[in-house]
Symmetry: C2
Subunit: 699 residues, 2 copies
């Protein structure tokens, strides 16, 4: 569908200009200067020719329909022209600003253009963008200065200025690109269409993106998940967190900021999130030039001790591991290395090492089965023949089946060596630490891809109809905070266990119920108007006899009436008290972008003070649920400390997955907290929910 955008046979430049200061000139000039092989049609009502090309007064005067129209004219004109030339345009790039980004008038223009795109099915890039570059078709349909070398990195960006800066950088560094796409306002074509297209693009090996936000979160995850099974996607996402701005009534809602949602979504979609622009391109180089290492064991070959230690340090701090050499490897190294060399990892081949010693060392460690990838370090020393060493590394790389990364440290002395490495497809980094981080990103990609293979979502048999009925009833009454008794019914319908309980509407009723349930009991105010029952003195625990039940019944009512005089009171819930077990919290908060964000954590101070929680977007598979539990800092507490039995993990996973199922089945649920839920050990088995809170959206 985007073939005409990336590989047009003919391009019309609407607003082509003679004036070198105009965008319409820059675009035309780029098309010509960078050897676009199709036909270029400048369109301008005035003049006969521009830059040697015959000019057409109107797109409809061009003798054939064009594959692509590039617009550098005001918004109103664009809308008019597209409307008049529907059948003559195969795809469009709207460079012009003056749309959504520029006030209410622009918003109107954009709305109109958008519905036009939908009507006509013409794919439109922009508006308000720098344009598009495809080195594979020699297409520079942008007003950016310069054209990158051919390569296998494709980059889409929500910031045009970044496109320009990165392009300039890529040209200087000689880094090759395949597609360079400025998304502009993302009115029609978004990151989703680009991901879909680039997935099948044979010239793209790694997809990079700069995004300030994502359009259609759920679709984005779905598509990205498919793409990342085929090739790596690395994205820098900027844009400040909305955490502070959200009003939430549950713990889950309070903790689930949009940054958590993005991190979670990226992880689940298999996307590597680069925390800085520098990391984005460092990672890109690794993926573009080298195969992903099949394991985490990195060998380091260096001509100096210091950089070797620096590399080892950052390996130790990362997810990468220092390879352990076999006895044979060490013996082989010994043969040709000088006596002062270090034979263990990192291999220090000493300052006077020339290309032969580098070759021998790299080939030797590459043969070791315990080595998955090699990092070669060089500092410029008197004896170092740097260019030859760079050549040897590129040469050895072609012969071995393991990825190589380098850090040639220095300035002018290593410059030509770095160029040789770049040509040889060896990613070089200014400092060893950055190389290690790139290797780490590759390993992360491997791991995410593996998890992503598992199908999303498990479906337990549940009583969906019952929940539908309760929610509809509440919505009819305009109740957004579902009364606790009903919240419990909803959760029970989805397989959660609650302790035995009943609602008392008089003190003697309460005593009777308590006696029947068995002591000790917990008493809680039952009111749809009170969300935080403890805060208003509405909860009393560990009551051991009937007299106390009667006394506390009146206590609770009077305290609550004092705090919340106008609350509607249904009575007091009496519940058998559950002792022992560990408190956990399972909840969901609906993210505006990505939907149901499931949270897991340990209850009490761990969630309140430590904010020790993990997130996933529902629906969930079992591995994801397992990872959620393992991710929290206090995980060892669940595994059991001081000789305790481990908690019933299967039951925790089950609870998390069920919460995901509930949230996926009922988009009306905005927030839900089960807090606390008690989990028992693997012998006693199971989880029991003690308190539940559900908020739904207005009808």
């Amino acid at each position: 569908m985007l073939e005409k955008l990336f590989y047009p046979k003919s391009v019309a430049v609407i607003g082509a200009s003679q004036n070198p200061e105009k965008v319409g000139y820059a675009i035309l000039n780029n098309l010509i200067r960078h050897n676009f092989q199709g036909i270029i049609y400048p369109v301008n009502p005035k003049g006969d020719s521009i830059l040697g090309l015959k000019t057409y007064p109107d797109i409809n005067k061009i003798p054939e329909p064009v594959d692509m129209a590039i617009f550098a004219v005001p918004p109103a004109a664009i809308i008019r022209i597209i409307r008049e030339s529907i059948h003559n345009i195969g795809s469009a790039i709207v460079i012009s600003a003056g749309f959504k980004e520029s006030g209410s008038k622009g918003v109107e223009f954009e709305k109109e253009l958008k519905s036009l795109a939908e009507e006509t099915a013409i794919p439109i890039l922009g508006p308000n963008c720098v344009g598009l570059i495809n080195t594979d078709s020699n297409l520079n349909a942008s007003f950016a200065v310069g054209m990158p070398a051919k390569g296998n990195i494709s980059f889409f960006s929500q910031s045009g200025a970044l496109c320009t800066a990165i392009l300039d950088w890529a040209i200087k560094e000689g880094i090759g690109f395949s597609k360079f796409i400025s998304l502009g306002n993302k009115m029609d074509l978004t990151e989703i269409e680009m991901l879909k297209y680039l997935k099948d693009d044979p010239n793209t090996r790694v997809i990079l993106g700069y995004l300030e936000g994502v359009t259609h979160g759920e679709e984005f995850i779905k598509v990205a998940k498919e793409v990342t099974q085929v090739k790596p996607v690395i994205i820098t996402k900027s844009g400040r967190t909305g955490a502070g701005a959200r009003a939430a009534s549950s713990h889950t809602g309070t903790l689930a900021g949009s940054e958590h949602a993005y991190n979670t979504a990226f992880n689940q979609a298999g996307i590597i999130r680069a925390e800085s622009m520098e990391a984005l391109f460092d990672f890109a180089l690794a993926f573009a030039y080298q195969p992903v290492p099949s394991g985490a064991n990195l060998a380091v070959v260096t001509n100096a001790g210091g950089p070797g230690i620096i590399a080892a340090d950052s390996i130790e701090r990362s997810g990468v591991k220092m390879a352990q050499f076999s006895r044979e490897t060490i013996e082989s190294l010994k043969v040709f290395l000088p006596p002062t060399a270090a034979l263990l990892n990192p291999v220090d081949i000493i300052g006077d090492a020339r290309e032969d010693r580098y070759r021998n060392a790299i080939e030797t460690v590459a043969k070791d089965k315990g080595v998955d990838a090699i990092l070669v370090l060089l500092t410029p020393q008197a004896m170092s023949n740097i260019d030859s060493i760079a050549g040897v590394i590129s040469d050895v790389y072609r012969k071995i089946d393991k990825p190589i990364f380098t850090s040639f440290m220095g300035g002018a002395m290593v410059e030509s060596g770095r160029r040789i490495l770049n040509k040889g497809g060896i990613p070089n980094y200014d400092y060893p630490e950055r190389a290690v981080k790139a290797v780490e990103a590759m390993l992360k990609y491997n791991a995410l891809k593996q998890t992503g293979k598992e199908a999303r979502g498990i479906k337990y048999p549940v009583n969906k109809e019952k929940v539908r009925l309760i929610i509809d009833t509440c919505r009819e009454k305009g109740e957004v905070n579902i009364p606790e008794s009903m919240a419990i019914e909803i959760l029970e319908a989805y397989g959660f266990r609650f302790p035995k309980r009943a609602l008392a509407t008089s003190a003697y009723d309460a005593a009777y119920i308590a006696n029947k349930l068995g002591f000790p009991v917990v008493m809680k105010i039952a009111s749809p108007d009170i969300l935080h029952k403890s805060d208003v003195g509405g909860v009393i625990v560990d009551i051991n006899d009937k007299q106390d039940v009667i006394k506390y019944y009146y206590d609770i009512l009077s305290r609550v009436k004092r705090s919340v005089p106008f609350a509607s009171i249904h009575g007091v819930a009496i519940q058998h008290m559950i002792k022992g077990g560990k408190e956990i919290i399972v909840g969901v908060s609906r993210d505006p972008q990505f939907g149901p964000l499931i949270m897991f954590g340990l209850g009490g101070v761990y969630v309140e003070v430590l904010k020790d929680v993990s997130f996933r977007i529902a629906p969930l598979n079992r591995t994801e649920a397992e990872h959620m539990v393992r991710e929290i800092q206090m995980y060892p507490l669940l595994r059991g400390v001081r000789g305790e039995l481990p908690s019933d993990f299967e039951s925790i996973y089950d609870s998390i997955i069920r919460m995901g199922q509930l949230a996926s089945d009922f988009p009306e649920i905005v927030e839900c907290d089960i807090n606390p839920m008690k989990v028992f050990d693997s012998k006693k088995s199971g989880c029991v929910a003690l308190d539940a809170r559900i908020t739904i959206s207005h009808k």
Copy 2:
């Protein structure tokens, strides 16, 4: 004292050579080529002249004593020559390898050379180093290639290869240096002497270092603390952590790895630790070129939205703050900025901004009292006159009193602009994130400097003599694990409170004591051979009557005998049980490098699972103790959650400081844990230690 090393009037090159492949040639050539203004004396028994200079067969044949002798001859010769020429050498650089780093023979040479240095008081740099560069005296006494520009950064490095690489980089980037020092084996002159010298060097504004370890930890902290009050010290410390290698019997000992010790030492000394070489030089540039911002509020001026958001993001993640503009600032910006500009921070002056708009925007935000520093971003756009903008920034900087940092993003298009900024003393960073981190480092320096002003160590009145007696007694007996009863006496002598207790040697004795102390009680086995009493069933808590005391007495004895048959048993300690309060841990572990490393944390699972602890090196002042408590993640728990009263913080600080005092007073104490200690709320007041363990060193 090091004047003759950095500003020699005459230099002898021992081992000067005609052969361009020899180090002795490279050194002589560097001295000549980089215009050393003093007299150069090549020394070589063979030949009459080298590189046009008259050659002396022997240093003692030179007509005058030389300020500096540079050695490029074998170890044995060096030792002989120094011994024969004591009065003719003012300072020495030993370039030659073949010492400590090269086996047992070399170790002997180094020992001999070291004692010679001590005897003769000749300061010796090296051995096994690249040499020394001082741009202020046009001195290049090294075999490194090239000479950096003059500047105010000084750098010492424990890795010679890094010196070479960094030098090459500095020359290419045009970054100016004052001193460049390769420390080599640090036999005589170490980082300590360099810090002392550079502190008073008027040409050094910021001190950088690369270290793999520190010589004389306590002295290092003392000296660095003084230096950082005068100028910033930034150090990259590499070398793998020894955490795994340490055998420790206490919690403190287990958690206090050497990395913690280094981090703590650097912090207490006011040193900024750079986590990577990239960060080291990023920070250096900021300190070298700009004054430290007086506050954390950063204004961002940009010609594109994307980079502005990226900057804002990393500001939010860091210790830097986004400045809030005054109404006047916003009104002033509005006057000259186009309507589509963003007036709030970050100020987006739009893609077509030229130097005038940059000037106006920077000057305007600089006037705002709410702005402490300015970050200027540029992406190369069609209209950007980059060189002029760079010029304007340098110009504005001279007129305002606030620091400016820039990130000109891109490649060739911004290259000359970057050079102009560098000349103008404006630190430029490839990406905004790195600029923000540099600003953060400057703010951290300010904060550390402030804490460092306070005097080290508080002295409480304690019973030192008593502790001396107990420790000496134990040492006499060869007991390294001090029996609990004595450990308690030691700690009581230093002001710690323990619950009432007594030792029972029979079951009836135990019952009698328990009754006297008051129930509930805790019973604990008393044995010098058992460190982890709970593990062998040697502790029973919450015993409420005499019958139980008698029963448990026998229980404990039989359990312990089963687990540790040969333990010597003193009896069973009976202790009044303390209820309520929160568990904390206060301990000390002696670091081989830096001495007593004090640890604080919350007890129980927080220390065991979360490892939520903080460290400082004793002796401590009150602010440091306060920071230790605030640093732990669970600090809010001590402040009080759910309406609790805050803990008695003064009493916690007091305990930490007393532990520091004890550890400083008695270097024999290797490890000490008070775990748990109960801290009560600010009303009930105070801390009570429940369990104590002290290990001392062998006599």
